[in-house]
């Protein structure tokens, strides 16, 4: 379990991270969302023990980043927003180097390397030179490096930047799999569609402050006092609008020329079901009844101002 407590980092007059707190459980894939300069990388670097917090701390499975950084380093895999690869070595040599540094026993190293190569789908590139790999493969190799010591937590800083759509999709799949394996995965990004698919928890940060934190649905719904329901009917659009207005929970109703009724709804889920029932019983031939899904991007734009420090 990761517990971040009042973590704060100050550079002279600039407060990069302003006393943030949150906690994550094993299996959580946490999307850390923020504009450039919001404080994501600083937070991740503090969790990775690369930066000393000005105040506050964090613990991973009870080990404190300040009092036992070596203990933390054994439990984390850190992938920065750049590859940091040695180009004069082969893929297996690169992994062997880091497995040695992470004190993986010599007799277990070949097996560990084979396993992480298989997980990252790089087995066929085992003997290739690192410099010959495509960008997507290099990114997967970086992830493989993070996994050689079987860490409890992965810190991935902008992992998909610069990747093509296929490589992104593969990376998403891999990160989802890592979450299923019970690892805590923190993924920072400012590209929201990148995170929406596989994160089960998100945190939105701006100017060093966390503006929202929690499961994706909760964060999205928490910001919406009402939701939009779009109803398409066969012919009597005014009748449908009239029936809708009578339903408890409906805040406002609008009609459009193409046979669609747009309903702003603030009621419960049961009331939402009742609305459909009312329309059907009222003689309306309903073609579609759809709640407009707000997404992370909407939430992000609503919450943040775009200001950086």
């Amino acid at each position: 379990m990761l517990e971040v407590k009042e973590l704060r980092k100050v550079y002279g007059p600039l407060t990069a991270v302003n006393g943030i707190s949150f906690s994550l459980q094993p299996g959580d894939v946490f999307g850390f969302i923020g504009s450039n300069g919001a404080g994501k990388t600083t937070t991740i670097r503090m969790l990775a023990t690369l930066l000393e917090p000005t105040s506050g701390t964090a613990t991973l499975n009870g080990v404190d980043i300040l009092s036992d950084p070596m203990g933390i380093r054994k439990m984390i895999g850190y992938m920065p927003d750049f590859f940091g690869l040695y180009d004069d070595v082969k893929v297996w040599e690169y992994l062997d180097f880091f497995a040695t540094i992470y004190s993986v026993q010599k007799k277990h190293r070949p097996e560990v390397i084979d396993n992480v190569l298989e997980l990252t789908d790089l087995t066929v590139k085992r003997d290739a030179m690192v410099q010959s790999l495509s960008r997507g493969m290099q990114q997967r190799l970086c992830l493989a490096r993070c996994l050689v010591h079987d860490p409890a937590m992965l810190l991935l800083d902008e992992p998909a930047s610069g990747l093509d759509p296929r490589a992104r999709a593969e990376l998403k799949e891999l990160i989802t799999e890592l979450g299923r394996m019970g690892k805590i995965v923190i993924v920072s990004s400012h590209i929201l569609p990148e995170l929406a698919g596989f994160c089960n928890t998100v945190g939105i940060i701006e100017r060093g402050n966390i503006l929202a934190f929690g499961p994706v649905e909760q964060v999205v719904q928490g910001l919406q006092s009402t939701r939009i329901i779009r109803v398409r009917v066969m012919s009597d659009i005014d009748g449908a609008a009239g029936l809708s207005k009578e339903q408890p929970g409906v805040v406002a109703v609008e009609t459009s020329g193409d046979g669609e009724v747009r309903i702003e709804f603030g009621g419960s889920i049961a009331q939402q079901a009742d609305l459909l029932e009312r329309l059907v019983k009222g003689g309306q031939r309903v073609i579609s009844y759809q709640e407009e899904q707000a997404d992370l991007e909407d939430v992000f734009l609503k919450l943040t101002t775009g200001a950086v420090q």
Partner: protein, 302 residues
């Protein structure tokens, strides 16, 4: 009690930094990079080929001049080569990691700064050892076969024995190479750019080994004060040892005040001491170029 504690600390550090240092894997990286045909990098391959050709030519010359080739010439060459090879081995050790942006990956691993620096240094030692052994074999051959005006066997023609001179000269040369490697590592730790570290060390070598001694020799009227100033100069110390091993008098040199006790061990210890200082300094300030620390820490007023 205190001695036992010191011994215990020493053995703990020795185990952590040398015996069980995971960064000793750097030796393998060094081997792959420099000794496996350049790994497809044309520059590495070219340097390796030129080095092999140069070495083969040297061996041919020695074989051709068998009996007439003074071993000290090889030690001069070896020392001069160390002044170039040591920086070449070490200049990118840490600054290169910064340039490749792999530095963070080492810092976030469960190893100490000392283990990183010492691991890098061990890799350089491997390179220096290879060079040293490559020169030692022909040096021993020439020492045995040389028929010049002094003997390297049981010879005691001069004020120091030929054998002592040979060992001391090799020790000076080797420790000088190690010291330059440590100096380069220090600058590599303190520079953001590898070429900057290389440039600084080569400039310092040029100033210390050639420019200042030449300037001083031109300005000085010789004698004892000059000899003291030249004591730390490896080529000068090797030259003096060579002279002292086959001349009893002092007529050969203009610097004639110091006897054999001043050459060999003092330079070796001096270079080793500097090596230790440079390594410790590199460890202490390894984050300097990351902007986390200042070269001279600013005093914080309460």
């Amino acid at each position: 009690m205190a001695q036992t504690k010191a011994e215990s600390n020493f053995s703990k550090n020795w185990r952590e930094l040398v015996i069980e240092n995971p960064m000793a894997i750097e030796i393998n990286r060094f081997r792959r990079r420099f000794l496996e045909g350049g790994r497809g990098k044309s520059v590495n391959t070219m340097v390796l080929v030129v080095a092999i050709l140069a070495y083969a030519s040297l061996l041919l010359v020695i074989a051709n001049m068998s009996g007439d080739f003074p071993p000290v010439v090889l030690i001069y060459m070896q020392t001069a080569l160390f002044a170039l090879i040591s920086p070449a081995l070490m200049y990118s050790a840490i600054s290169g990691e910064r340039e490749k942006r792999s530095w963070d990956l080492l810092l976030v691993a469960p190893i100490t700064h000392a283990q990183i620096v010492v691991g890098k240094f061990l890799a350089a030692l491997a390179g220096i050892t290879v060079t040293f052994v490559l020169f030692l074999l022909p040096t021993l051959f020439t020492a045995i076969t040389y028929k010049g005006d002094y003997s390297y066997g049981s010879g005691s023609i001069g004020t120091v024995s030929g054998t002592y001179a040979l060992i001391a000269e090799e020790a000076i040369s080797l420790t000088f190479g190690i010291c330059v490697a440590a100096l380069t590592l220090l600058f590599s730790a303190r520079c953001k750019r590898s070429l900057m570290a290389l440039g600084v060390v080569l400039t310092l070598n040029f100033l210390a080994l050639i420019a200042f001694p030449s300037l001083f020799a031109m300005m000085s009227n010789s004698s004892s004060s000059g000899e003291f100033l030249f004591l730390a100069h490896p080529i000068f110390a090797i030259m003096r040892l060579d002279q002292l091993s086959h001349y009893r008098g002092s007529y050969y040199s203009s610097f004639d005040s110091l006897d054999g006790i001043w050459y060999g061990l003092p330079q070796t210890l001096l270079y080793l001491a500097f090596t230790a200082v440079f390594i410790v300094w590199a460890v202490k300030t390894v984050n300097f170029a990351d902007g986390e620390k200042k070269f001279i820490p600013r005093k914080i007023n309460a």
